[in-house]
C-alpha cells in the first residue's frame, strides 16, 4: 500500500507542490530530447534513403565535433574550421558510398548494419589517432554561441534556462525546417523521397542511387556536425557521446524508423519522459534509471504499435 502510494500518488503530489521544479525538469528533458531528436534525425535520413541502419551516426557526431575542435587547435580560425569540417564530412560521405555501400549493394540489411559497425570502429581509431583520445572543449565562444543562463519567473519560482540550450532548440528547429523545405521543394529532395519509396522504381526513372546516397550521407554528416557542436557546447567533446547516441534507437522506435517528424516527436517524448522518470520515480528504485527507462518506454510502446508513432504500416505478404 505504501509502495503503491509512493508510485502513483507521491510523485504527482511533489509535482503539484513545486511547479517551478516540474517546469525546470520538463525543460531539461526537452533539451535532452532535442539532442536525441537530432541524432535520430541522422539515422532516419540514411535509413529512408539507403535502407541502412547506420550505427555510425553516433560516432559521426563525435568525429565531426573532434575535427572542428582539432582544426581550431591547430590554429585555423573558427569559421574556416567549420567550413573545413563540412568538407571533411562530405569526403566521408563520398568515401562511405564508394568503399562501403557500393560494394555491398543488394546485401541483406544485417550485413550493411554490420558494415556500419566497421565504419564506427574505423572512425573511433582514426579520430583518436589524429586528434587524441582526451576530452576537448567545444569552441562555443568562437562560433558566437551564447553562454550563461536566463532566470525566468514562472510557476511561483525561478526557472533557469541555459542560453546555449535555447540556441540549440532554435538551431534544431531551423535545421528541421530547412530539411523539410529541401525535401518538399527541391529537385534533389524529390529524388530523395523517390529513393525512399522504392529503390527500383527510382532507378527506373533515371535517378542515380549513388549520387543520392552521397547526398544523404552528407546531409546526415551535417546533422551530426550540428549535433556535435550543440552537445559539445553543453558538456565536452569526448567519445562518451557514443553511448548516448544509442539512446537514439528507442527514439527511432517510438517515432518509426522512416519518419522525420517521428524522430523529432519521439526524441522529445523520450527526453522528457526520461528526466521526469528519473527525477520523480528514480529515487524509488535507486537512481540511474535514466540508462534504461527510454528503452523500456520504447519496448512497451512497441507492444501496442509495432510500426511506431508515425511509421509506415508494416504489411506482410507471402
Amino acid at each position: 500500500m505504501d509502495l503503491l502510494y509512493k508510485i502513483f500518488i507521491d510523485p504527482f503530489v511533489q509535482m503539484g507542490a513545486a511547479p517551478d521544479l516540474l517546469v525546470q525538469t520538463l525543460w531539461e528533458g526537452l533539451v535532452a530530447g532535442v539532442l536525441y531528436s537530432l541524432i535520430a534525425l541522422g539515422f532516419v535520413l540514411i535509413f529512408k534513403a539507403s535502407g541502412v541502419f547506420n550505427f555510425a551516426q553516433g560516432i559521426m557526431v563525435v568525429f565531426s565535433a573532434l575535427t572542428l575542435v582539432g582544426l581550431h587547435e591547430h590554429g585555423v580560425p573558427a569559421y574556416v574550421a567549420l567550413v573545413l569540417t563540412i568538407g571533411v564530412m562530405f569526403c566521408l560521405a563520398f568515401a562511405v558510398e564508394r568503399l562501403i555501400l557500393r560494394p555491398l549493394i543488394n546485401q541483406p540489411d544485417i550485413i550493411l548494419f554490420m558494415a556500419t559497425f566497421g565504419l564506427t570502429y574505423f572512425l573511433i581509431g582514426f579520430g583518436e589517432l589524429i586528434f587524441g583520445g582526451e576530452t576537448k572543449v567545444m569552441i562555443a565562444d568562437q562560433l558566437l554561441l551564447p553562454r550563461g543562463a536566463i532566470e525566468v519567473k514562472m510557476a511561483g519560482g525561478f526557472v533557469s534556462l541555459q542560453k546555449i540550450d535555447i540556441a540549440a532548440a532554435i538551431i534544431a528547429s531551423l535545421m528541421v525546417a530547412t530539411l523539410a523545405i529541401f525535401f518538399q521543394r527541391t529537385r534533389i529532395g524529390r529524388a530523395l523521397r523517390a529513393v525512399a519509396d522504392s529503390h527500383r522504381a527510382a532507378l527506373s526513372v533515371g535517378i542515380s542511387l549513388e549520387q543520392i546516397w552521397v547526398i544523404v550521407w552528407f546531409a546526415a554528416g551535417l546533422v551530426a556536425l550540428t549535433t556535435g557542436i550543440m552537445w559539445g557546447a553543453r558538456s565536452d567533446v569526448s567519445f562518451a557521446l557514443e553511448v548516448i547516441a544509442l539512446k537514439a534507437l528507442p527514439v527511432l522506435i517510438l517515432g518509426g524508423l522512416t519518419s522525420i517528424p517521428g524522430a523529432i516527436v519521439g526524441g522529445l517524448i523520450i527526453g522528457i519522459g526520461e528526466k521526469i522518470g528519473e527525477f520523480y520515480w528514480g529515487p524509488l528504485l535507486g537512481s540511474g534509471i535514466e540508462t534504461w527507462l527510454a528503452y523500456v518506454i520504447a519496448l512497451i510502446f512497441l507492444l501496442f504499435r509495432p510500426q511506431g508513432l508515425f511509421g509506415e504500416r508494416i504489411i506482410e505478404r507471402i
Partner: protein, 358 residues
C-alpha cells in the same frame, strides 16, 4: 584429390543424414579434438591456454548461443552481454547460497535462469522483428546492466560492486578460484564447449532447427504450415540465452575469476554479434571461426609490432587496432558477406575438385 568422397556409399538414412557424412571430415574433427584435448594442454604454454584458448572457447560458446537466435531463427539480439551477465550472477548467487553443491551443476543451472530472463525479454519478438527487435533486446541489456550495478544484493553487498569467484573443487581438485591451474580450467571449459556444441548441432539438424530456420526464412509462411510462432521463437530465445548464460558463468568463473557489472555491458553484446556475423550466420563452425578472428586478431595486433621491432606508442597501437578491425570487418563483409563459414566451404570444395576444377 585429398578430399574425395568417391566410394563412400550411404546405406541407411541415418548415415545419409549424418552431420559429417564424409570420412575425411570425421578424421578432421578427430584431429581437431585431439589437438584441443591432448596437444594443447600438454605442449601449450600457460599464455596460450589462459589468455587465448580459454576465452576463445567461452566466446565461441556465446557466439553459438547468439547464432542459434540470430543465425538460425533470424531474430536480431543486442542483449547477449546481459544474458551472459545473468548467467554469471545467477551462478555466483547460487554458489554462495549453496556452497556444498558442485559448481558445475550451478553453472548449468545458471543457464536456466538466463533462459527464463531471455524468454521474458523475447516476448516482444512475436510482434516485432528486425531492428525493432534489436532495440527491444537493448532494453534487456541496459536494464540488466543497471540491475547488477545498482542492486547490491547481486554482488552480496560487496562494497566495490564486483563479484569474487570462490574456490570450488571437483573430486578434490580446485577448478575455480585463484588456486585452480590453467590446465584444469581449460579442461572444464573444453568439456562444456564440446558437449554443448554437440547438443546445439543436434538441435539445429533436427526438427527444432528446421522450425527455427522456417521461421527465419519467412515467419508468416512458417505460421501457415503449422509452426507455432510463439513457442518456436521463445524456444529459440530460451536456448540461446541458456548458451549465453552458461558462457557468462564460465567467463567469470573460469577465466576472469571475478567481475564487475561493466564486463557485461553493451560492448560485449556487439563483440559477440561481430563474431556471429563475421563467422557466418547460421553456422556452428562459423561461430568458432568468428570467435577466433574477432578475439585473437586484437591480441595479434597488440603483440606483433613490438616483436617486429617497430617502436610504437601503446596508445597509438590501440587506435590503429580499432582502425584495422574496422577496415577488416568491412573488407570481410565485401569479400564474403556469408562469413568465414562460407569461405571454409568454398575452400573444401576447391580441395575436393583439385587439381581439375571442372
Amino acid at each position: 584429390m585429398f578430399y574425395r568422397e568417391a566410394g563412400q556409399f550411404k546405406t541407411s538414412y541415418a548415415a545419409d543424414q549424418a552431420v559429417f557424412p564424409i570420412f575425411q571430415d570425421r578424421i578432421g574433427l578427430a584431429i581437431v579434438l585431439f589437438v584441443a584435448a591432448v596437444i594443447i594442454p600438454w605442449f601449450g604454454s600457460s599464455f596460450l591456454i589462459q589468455a587465448i584458448m580459454i576465452p576463445f572457447l567461452i566466446f565461441s560458446l556465446a557466439a553459438i548461443g547468439l547464432n542459434l537466435l540470430t543465425g538460425y531463427t533470424g531474430l536480431l539480439s543486442l542483449g547477449t552481454g546481459a544474458f551472459m551477465g545473468v548467467g554469471a550472477y545467477a551462478c555466483y548467487k547460487l554458489t554462495s547460497f549453496f556452497p556444498s553443491v558442485n559448481i558445475l551443476i550451478w553453472i548449468l543451472a545458471s543457464g536456466f535462469f538466463s533462459a527464463a530472463v531471455g524468454v521474458l525479454f523475447g516476448l516482444p519478438s512475436l510482434r516485432i522483428k528486425g531492428f525493432y527487435l534489436a532495440v527491444a533486446t537493448l532494453a534487456a541489456q541496459f536494464f540488466l546492466s543497471w540491475l547488477f550495478l545498482r542492486q547490491p544484493w547481486f554482488s552480496n553487498y560487496n562494497a566495490s560492486g564486483a563479484i569474487e569467484v570462490p574456490t570450488r573443487t571437483l573430486f578434490g581438485i580446485p577448478i575455480t578460484g585463484a588456486t585452480a591451474t590453467d590446465t584444469t580450467r581449460y579442461f572444464v571449459v573444453l568439456v562444456f564447449v564440446i558437449v554443448m556444441t554437440w547438443i546445439a548441432s543436434n538441435l539445429v539438424h533436427g526438427r527444432v532447427g528446421r522450425m527455427w530456420m522456417a521461421v527465419r526464412d519467412m515467419d508468416l509462411a512458417a505460421d501457415l504450415i503449422g509452426i507455432r510462432l510463439l513457442q518456436t521463437k521463445l524456444l529459440a530465445f530460451a536456448t540461446s540465452s541458456f548458451y549465453c548464460g552458461v558462457a557468462g558463468a564460465l567467463l567469470v568463473f573460469l577465466w576472469y575469476g571475478g567481475a564487475e557489472p561493466a564486463v557485461f555491458d553493451v560492448n560485449l553484446s556487439f563483440f559477440i554479434l561481430f563474431m556471429v556475423i563475421i563467422g557466418g550466420l547460421g553456422s556452428l563452425t562459423g561461430s568458432f571461426f568468428g570467435a577466433a578472428l574477432i578475439f585473437i586478431l586484437p591480441i595479434v595486433l597488440r603483440y606483433f609490432p613490438p616483436k617486429l621491432g617497430i617502436p610504437v606508442h601503446p596508445a597509438t597501437v590501440e587506435h590503429i587496432q580499432y582502425m584495422v578491425i574496422g577496415v577488416l570487418i568491412v573488407l570481410f563483409l565485401i569479400a564474403e558477406p556469408a562469413g568465414l563459414a562460407r569461405l571454409w566451404q568454398i575452400g573444401k570444395q576447391k580441395l575436393r575438385v583439385w587439381p581439375f576444377p571442372y
